[in-house]
């Protein structure tokens, strides 16, 4: 069994009456990129903050490199690079001071790599953080997070504020380089195409719970999108086995379904229809189907 870099077991956390995390388990191994997806308030940032020790585990356990990040912050944070969602950096520092300051905390700081990234982003080292735009601040934060070549890179909404070119070319390249180096990346994002493009593993969170988790290819194989035609008109969506999301009307329906395709085909046949076309579902379709299903379950409860 591969050694876990991150091991979260049955983690729960409430803020007042609201359950931010509810019995969450999550595991990450070396050399992989993990994407956390979910709607606003799903618990992605809360989970990442637990990994950094910024939040204490109310129940359950969090281990990063086998250590408790709250009890041993030096052991954990010394090997972690973190880009926060707020891009919080000391406003009064110049970029070169920020680099030197961060370097002091990390023996593994790669000055050449930091310089290279500064040049790639065309950031002026003499510029103060307070004078940077939101995107430039994200770039500075990203350099500080990756230049010490951390064993675990945690990125909270890394694309926020970055333009399309930086996002697609540079961020992807950085993340891929980290993973190819045998290190681990965990990032959260609202952009499903980005998660699909960058991750090896995907974890879908909804209302504080992990509703889906696994290797991206495996997850995609588990879900299919099929176009079905029925002989008769349906006013309401037809009830089909393993179906998670049904869209359309009349005789033509588009269905996202999980499980064995044969079972689904039999179900369609039983209602006088036929499967016209089937393909692996996209992450967005899976997300919509799972999130919608969770909402329905909540409403039913």
């Amino acid at each position: 069994m591969e050694q876990s870099i991150v091991d979260v077991s049955n983690l729960s956390r409430t803020f007042g009456d609201k359950a931010a995390l509810d019995d969450v388990s999550f595991r990450a191994t070396a050399g992989q990129v993990y994407g956390l997806v979910g709607s606003n308030g799903a618990g992605k940032t809360t989970l990442l903050k637990h990994l950094l020790g910024l939040l204490r585990a109310a129940s359950g356990s969090v281990r990063v490199f086998g250590l408790d990040p709250v009890r041993d912050p030096v052991g954990v944070l010394g090997r972690v690079g973190y880009l926060s969602e707020e891009r919080e950096l000391p406003e009064w520092m110049r970029i070169d001071e920020l680099m030197r300051y961060t370097q002091a905390y990390h023996q593994t700081w790669d000055a050449a790599y930091a310089r290279e990234l500064l040049e790639t982003f065309a950031l002026d080292p003499a510029k103060k953080v307070k004078d940077l735009s939101k995107g430039m601040r994200a770039q500075a934060g990203l350099i500080v997070a990756v230049a010490h070549r951390p064993a675990l890179l945690i990125l909270d909404e890394p694309s926020s504020g970055l333009d399309a070119v930086v996002r697609r070319d540079i961020l992807d390249a950085i993340v891929r380089a980290v993973a190819d180096d045998g290190r681990t990346v965990i990032f959260s994002s609202h952009l499903l195409d980005e998660v699909e493009r960058m991750s090896d593993h995907v974890t879908l969170m909804h209302q504080g719970r992990v509703t889906l988790s696994g290797a991206l290819d495996e997850v995609r194989r588990q879900y299919q999108r099929s176009r079905v035609h029925f002989a008769e008109n349906f006013v309401q969506p037809p009830v089909l086995e393993t179906a998670l999301l049904i869209e359309g009307g009349g005789r033509a329906w588009s269905v996202v379904h999980s499980g064995a395709p044969e079972k689904f085909r039999q179900s369609v046949l039983a209602r006088g229809g036929e499967v016209v076309e089937s393909r692996d579902a996209t992450l967005e379709e899976i997300f919509m189907a799972r999130a919608g299903r969770s909402r329905q379950q909540m409403e039913a409860a």
Partner: protein
Amino acid sequence: MTRNSPIAAMLWENWRLTRVEAAQRLAVGIVAASAALSLANPNLGPTVAFWTLITVHSMIWLSIAKLNGGRFMDGYKPGFAFYLLYTRPVRTITFVAVAMAYDAISCTLLYVASAAIVNHAFGQSLPVFSVTLALVSYHLAYACCQWATRNRAVQWLGAIAFSIPMIILLRNGLTASLQVELSAVENIVFILIGVASFVLTVAGVARQRRGDAVATASQPRAVSGAYPNWLINAFRLPCPSASATRAQLWFELRSSGLPVLTIGLVVALVIFLAVAIGAPVAVARNVAIPIAMFAVIVAVFGLGNNAFGIRRKQGRIYASAFESTLPCRTAQLAGLKVLVRTACLLFALIVIGACLWASSSFLNSWGEWLADGNKDALPDLLKLRQKFSREFGNLTGYAQAALAVIAAILVAAVVAWQAAREALRARFPRLLLAWQWLPPLWVLAFILLSVAAKHSTVLSPATVHTFFLASFWTSSAAILLAAIYLLWNGIRERVLTIRDVCAAMLVPAALGIAWFTGMPAPSVTGMLWLVLLTLMIGFLAPWSLSRVRHT
């Protein structure tokens, strides 16, 4: 005005923000005025009580000022506090009028209520309604200075420039029977000040709302929990990258230590100049003495505040994620922050003290100082100077060194306590609020007992003494238990190591040595209390930072 009108919503917002502070101010004002009336000289008591109430209720609402991102020069975003209203479909004049009216009227009403209660309880005749016009116009003028501009220099110099003449005007209107009698002209002046302040504020806020003010003042910035950038960037020290401790020292020095030192030096210079100017300009003496008297206290509590750099933003109190994710032990981080701030503050205090002493030599050339308009207070000041010189000169070298050690430890304890308090406020706001009520309640109980003992045959001064002793031992026991709990919890959660505990033990050791080498301590029990308190604060500071770092 319907229930859902914007004005009702804005008034509700103001009330929601200030209700706790209003209760605090009411309590603090009444307790402090009662203390002045009970404990001070009967001739002086009512005057002190009056000025105490005026001081408490002439301040702008701090709960509203905090919307700007923090306290003075601490992550502060200058300008109109309700800047979130800029995007609401409300005219500028409306929200400025609501904010200014609420500030002025609510604070004045609190004064009226406090003065009426104190008058009723003590049979006094402190001015109640006669000061309302002065208080309202003072509030309007102060709000104008703070809200109409984003320029800090204009804000604070403006506030000083109008405050002093207004206080003098109020003082001149105070009669011997402690009533405020203002002439028609003075009343008109106050009214004009109020109207002009409102007009200026509306104009200034309108400029800020449409973005014109940005070009002429510093850019509003995100809350950084630090001193202004121009002050921080006045010191260009290269960041060491060889060790994390050195880098953190550099961070603390640049972000807060050296700015604190600079402000201390400026305060010292201001004291020196104010006292020196007092020789040829008699009016300046009324400014110089209060500045000199309160400089040390204001420096310790103002410049020694929030050493952990806890941030505030629109009611949210939090620690910087950047600093929280540094690979550094919490106790080490807390220790470095407190040590750097203490060292810089101590240096500033030494300079302020030296300037106070040097400038006091100018007092001889003043001739006279009519503090209350009649009696020359200069001989008393000169006697005080001589007494201080004699007392300090009579101390042995050991005793002087011991006093220096004690002073340094006390300053460090105040800095650590204030840092811990801010961290606890972020984590346990309600609990801290409840605990903050204990000292004023204790003072109130003490005053009530003292007054009762004076006027009743049932209670004797011995009862008051017993109450005092019981309070002393109860607080000592509570502090001891808190210290033990914090030590146990700190070690259990690995916030504290044995090394940290040994370092914390150096404080009582230093206090003990200072005591044995001739420190003029009040008693063994007093010394024990001081040792326990500093030890408890020593454990509390890292624990509180840990609580806010790992929420």
